[in-house]
Structures are given as C-alpha cells and as structure tokens.
Symmetry: none
Subunit: 414 residues, 2 copies
C-alpha cells in the first residue's frame, strides 16, 4: 500500500506559504502503515494538475490531493479529478445549506462560485468540513487508484483528515487490524532533549511506534500500536507510556490532539472550584485571552487587568508609587504586588502577574526576555520567579503565558 | 524560463521535517522572474530519484535538487545526476582540503565517505559551502536542461543559494531584466469577492501579474511587474494599483508582507499623538494583546480592562448595575458604557469595548457570533455597532478584534 501527496496551489509553488500540510498528513500515513514515496506541488493550472494526477495514478494506490477546493476559479482540484475519472460532480445538500446559511446570517452577497465548495465527485464519499465550507472527498475503486481530496487551509484540513479521512483509510486499507494512537503533551522540555532521553525507545520501536512532533513551545509524542483488538493495543500503549513517563514524566501535562495547557488549567480550576484573575504587563492580555480560548471559562475567570504602563499599574491596581519607583517594573516586588492586588480586587482564589521585557529593546537596563511572574495562590504567601527567555518578541510573550499556565498547573496538581 | 525543485530525503517524505527549503528557494526564484511549475519530494532511493530527474528534464529548463549531498550512503544526489548526464565526478581541491583539515584539527576519524562531499560534476561550476562541507553544483548546458544542486541543511543551503547560486542564475538567465513586487492588504472582504470584483484584471494579467492570497481573516494581493528598469516596473504597478483601488479600495488598509491591522493602527495613533485603551469581554484581552504585538506600543497604550463577568464590568469599570440588568451584557448600552468608562478611567483619547457571544453556546438568548463593539473616540459621542459573525469560537474572537482595529483605522484616516 503506497500513497502520494500532491499539494495544489500557486502560492506554495511561489514559496509564499510553507507546505505544512504534507508533513502533517505524511506523518499520520506512516502511523497507519501507508508508505509515501512521492510528494509534489502543482500550481493552480488544470493542464499541469491533470498531468500530475495521471502520473500519480500510474505509480500509487492512493493519491492525496490537498488544496484547490475553494470558491475561486483558481480552485480546480475537484473538477480535474472528476474529469480524469470520467465522473460528474454533485452538490452535497448539507454543505450547500451551510454555505447558504452563512451568507444569509452574515448578510453577505453569495456568488455562484461559493456553491462550488459543496461539490463532490459522483460515487465518492463526501467528507464533512467542520471548520470551513469546502467538502472533502474520498473516492475508492478497488480495481484502480483511490483519491482523497482535502482542503488547503490547515484549520480545515487537520480536523477533516483526523476525524473523517483517517477512519475511512483504516476501514478501507487495514481491514482486520486495530490501530490505536495516544498523544502525550509536554511543556518545558525541547524536542532534542526528548529525543536524547528516549533514544533507545525510538530506535527500538516497531510496535508500538513513537513519533515526536515539536511546535515552538511544546512537544507532543504520538504512541501508536497495532494489534488484533483494542485490549491488545491499549496494553501496548500503557507499557510504552509508563516507560516514557519514567524518563520525562515531569514535563508531561496532558493527553490528546486538541488539548492545551490552558484547557488543562481550566479543567483543574473547575474541578477544584477555584477562580483566577491576572494582571498583565508585557503580555498585555495574552494570558487572559489564552485562558478564554477555552469555552466555559466564565466559570473560573471573572476578568482582570492589562497594566502596560507604570500609570496603569498604579491607578488600576493601586500599587504604591514608591514600590515601582524603588524596584522598577521589572522586579520581584512589582510582580508580587500585581498578583496580590489583582487577586484582592477581583476576590479570586488565584492572582497571577506578568511583568518584564518583551523586546526588542531593553528596559530598566534589563535585556529583552527578562520576565517576572508573580503568583498569589489562595492564602499562601505570594511568590515570584524570574525567567530569561530569548528569541523574538512574539516568542517571549507566548513563552511567558505558557510558563504562567504551567506554574499554576503544577500548583493545582501538587 | 521555468524551473522545478526536487527535495531529496526520506525524512521529508515521512513528514519528520517540514520542507522549508523549497519555499525559501521558490520565493527568490519568483523575484528573479523564473517560473516554478513543479516541486516534488523524493526519498533517498536511486531508482525513484532517477525517474524524477528524467521527468523533470522533459519539462523544465532548470532542475534544482536539494539535499542528498552529505556523507552517508543515503546521499545519492550528485552520483545520480552525474549518471543521468553521463558525466564523471571530480574532487574540488579547496573543499577536500577543508574536510581534511577539520578531521585533523578535531582528531576525529575521517572515513572515505567524508571525501564524497567534495565531489562535483565534471564541466559544472562547484559552489562553495561556507557553513558546511558538501559542495554545491551548477551545471549549465544551453542545449539541454540545467541542474543546480544544493545541500539540505537550511544553514548551508541559504548562504550558498543567496551568495553563490543567485548571482549565477542572474548572470545565466536574466541579462537585462528588473522584477518588482508590491503587496496590498485588505480586510473585510473575502477572497471570492475580490476574485469576482477583479476577475477581468486577473484574467488579462500578463505584466504586471496579480495574485490573491487569503488567510482566515484577510486577503493580500501581490502585484508583480517586469521591465527594463525600476521606473518602468513601478509605473506598471502604480497603474494596476489604481485599477485595484477603484474596485476594492474601501477595504485596503496597507502595504507589505510584514504588515498588519495592528501595526497600521499603531502607526496612525503615533502619528496623531493619540492614546487608546480597551474594555474586553468576549475577547478577554485579545485586542490589547494583538495591539501589543507591535514593538513600541507603550507610546500609545497604557493598559486596559478584561471584564469577562458581569461583576467585573461593574466593579472594574463602575458600570451601573441597572444598565447591565436592564439591557444585558450583549447590548449597545453595555458596549457604550464599557468604552466610555475605560476611556475615562485611563484618560485616553480613545476607548473601545467588545461584548458579545463567543460561543459555542448562546448567551442572553443571543446566538454565538453576536458581537457589540463600542467606540468612544476623542470627545465625540460614543458609538456602538452590532456584528453577526459565524463559524467557531476562535474565529469569532479573532474577527471581533480585527473588526475593532479596522473601525479605529477608518476613524483615524477619515
């Protein structure tokens, strides 16, 4: 069983966007035991796309096309595959209704092109797009080449691939086989350190397999086992998880593809019936906004403060001028006052604060990346910690937020 | 003149690393006026690599191979291209000396494989590797296909491509040619609507060309002209820009790849000497955090409020309980009070507020996506507007923030 991936889009050919979809899909195909021998990129050009499809059909069992399902006339993937297969295109009623409802609700003008996004190839299985409008497609013909069509935006491709396509691929190609995956998430440890600590586990892997995946500020491990039944695969995963936790369990914070530090913290706060607020300087609302990415956050979070300037620290939080004047805004004292005052003003169980140098220039003689976090936890004495993050302004602010969430998580599971 | 890029490496096929080399090279080829019609990825497999080279030679003037120049037995690119061309491989003396010196100095054992990195194809131009050992290669044959071989590690590829390869490509293919690009950014209009409004311009394009690129919440247009001099290309771009602005100028907010609505608003505030604050409910700090993505924002932004709960709206902003109780939090009145109170408390020129339903569940009987934005602008009467956004919670919050920024931008350029 081998597959190839064709990304469709002139913006990828021109280098305007990086093709992150191909590795996302390829990595998961590998976990399914499907070999990928070729990847390619073709522009929004029907003739060259047709040639690429013809070539792929001669050498691969499954051709995965990504992109070109949108509403513009550059979007030609469905039409081109349908023409190659000699099939018609049909409109998927639920998808068409979703498109029409969107335009009706938002009072926008719908063009004929928008309807194209609801089309699927006759005799294929349309794949629902939960986060967009373009329907995906899985065309299976046991005698010939199969085609899987996925949308180009990663926010649409990823859920569609995981939730709709992977189960179909499993069903189609892995008949009498159970394949179980488990994702473990880590914060505070880099990918190369994980690779070093787990090198023997990674080298020896056959079943279960172990793959690391690094984003800028966290690393996930995907454990995948195959076997004759769920009980077999789950036992294999449990054993491997135990070995992993023995090495790097201190950095483990949760399971699952759709998880995050914010979600884990929210769930712990909710379980423990605790509330939280924040006073943010360099992060300027990013901590609170990240927490509020999680639906239902109002149960634990009433609101908080963005105190970017000295004046706001004094007037909104009531921090005495002499504290700031004496110690500076980038200080343990200011961080602790911010956390305590925020907690007191909103009468929450937890108050956290962030003050430091987001960069690119230094502040109060301290280099960019110097960050104080203050934490006033229940009625415990207020604490503060200093961190020295490097890299860019966006990295420093993001890292600061996640470090704050991780500190709270560790307090809550103590 | 057209080129294609073949990345060589099983680790890319398996999705273990993201192919950032291809966009790096492609973007610079586009700037040179060299069209890229195909990109592909092949594993470390001589047979499939040979097939890819043969195919590429039938359709492209220049074939760029990236990776597979290293010292392991998986590294086959030079050998495979040389065999295809019927050429021998020679050792480049300076590169060989560099390799030998390194092993002598570090007292490491040099294997025969290490010498392979100094090889280049007979009758080609070897390209020096400043940051590694593997020699690159440019093979030019006016009668046939040209080949450019580059190393896979980005730290080696980038300097070699910029310093060695680009000058060779310019010299070989672009004798008397200038190429100029301009990026225009739009908010509040979708890609399909832009495509519809500009369809004749897009259809007719030859020089300058016009390409749309959509992210979730904005669309950029890239205008690219070629000509004999800068004055020629700039005039062509000015004419096309004027035509574009006639159709969709109302949604245009700025130029450039590295621009954003937050940056444009910050620059306008700074130029006009104005300050801003915000009171955020559903966005929970995301507006303020987005504004603070821009370095130097402290010049215009002292801080603000996150008032997620009713209690915070009352206690932090001092909004009378009867306003909220009578009209609800998702209301024109609450939005206007929030904007006015934030502006008054922080004594800024502008106060903006966001209150509404981020979803996924409804609030006060209003569906997810119902958003009120309040704006208290200088001493003008406070205003408010209601919006109905759809899709997901993250989309609604992001769209709300950008809509607020765009409203302020429009007030500032009035």
């Amino acid at each position: 069983m081998n597959a190839e991936i064709i990304a469709v889009g002139t913006e990828i050919l021109l280098g305007q966007i990086v093709n992150t979809n191909a590795p996302f899909v390829a990595k998961r195909l590998a976990a399914l035991g499907i070999d990928v021998y070729y990847q390619s990129v073709v522009g929004d050009n029907q003739q060259r796309l047709t040639a690429a499809i013809k070539l792929a059909a001669t050498r691969s069992n499954l051709v995965i096309l990504i992109g070109g399902l949108g509403p513009t006339k550059d979007d030609l993937t469905k039409q081109t595959v349908a023409a190659f297969l000699g099939k018609e295109l049909h409109s998927e009623p639920a998808a068409l209704k979703k498109i029409e409802s969107y335009f009706a609700e938002t009072h926008k003008t719908m063009t004929a092109n928008n309807r194209l996004q609801a089309l699927y190839i006759a005799d294929s299985l349309p794949l629902k797009n939960e986060t967009g409008f373009a329907v995906g497609d899985f065309y299976h013909d046991p005698a010939k080449t199969d085609f899987l069509l996925l949308p180009g935006p990663p926010s649409e491709l990823r859920p569609m691939f995981i939730k709709q396509a992977v189960p179909q691929l499993q069903k189609t190609y892995l008949n009498h086989h159970v394949l179980t995956s488990r994702v473990m998430r880590f914060f505070g440890i880099g990918e190369s350190m994980i690779a070093a600590k787990l090198s023997d586990l990674i080298d020896e892997q056959t079943n279960p397999t172990l793959a690391t995946y690094a984003k800028e500020n966290e690393v996930t491990l995907r454990l995948t086992a195959t076997g004759s039944s769920d009980s077999v695969t789950i036992k294999l995963l449990d054993q491997l998880e135990k070995a992993v936790k023995n090495r790097i369990g201190d950095y483990f914070y949760g399971y699952g593809d759709d998880n995050s530090l914010a979600r884990v913290v929210f769930n712990l706060l909710k379980q423990q019936g605790l509330s939280i607020t924040a006073a943010e300087s360099l992060t300027a609302g990013k901590f609170q906004s990240t927490l509020a990415d999680v639906p239902g956050v109002s149960q634990v979070f009433p609101g908080g403060f963005v105190t970017y300037s000295k004046i706001a620290k004094k007037s909104l939080l009531g921090i005495p001028a002499e504290v700031i004047d004496r110690y500076g805004v980038v200080s343990s004292q200011t961080a602790e006052w911010m956390a305590k005052r925020a907690q007191a003003l909103l009468q929450t169980d937890i108050g956290i604060s962030f003050t430091g140098v987001a960069g690119p220039t230094e502040l109060e003689g301290q280099p960019a990346g110097t960050v104080w976090i203050g934490l006033s936890f229940k009625d415990q004495p207020v604490e503060s910690k200093v961190f020295h993050f490097s890299k860019t302004r966006p990295y420093i602010r993001e890292r600061t937020v996640l470090t704050g969430l991780d500190w709270i998580r560790r307090k809550l599971v103590e």
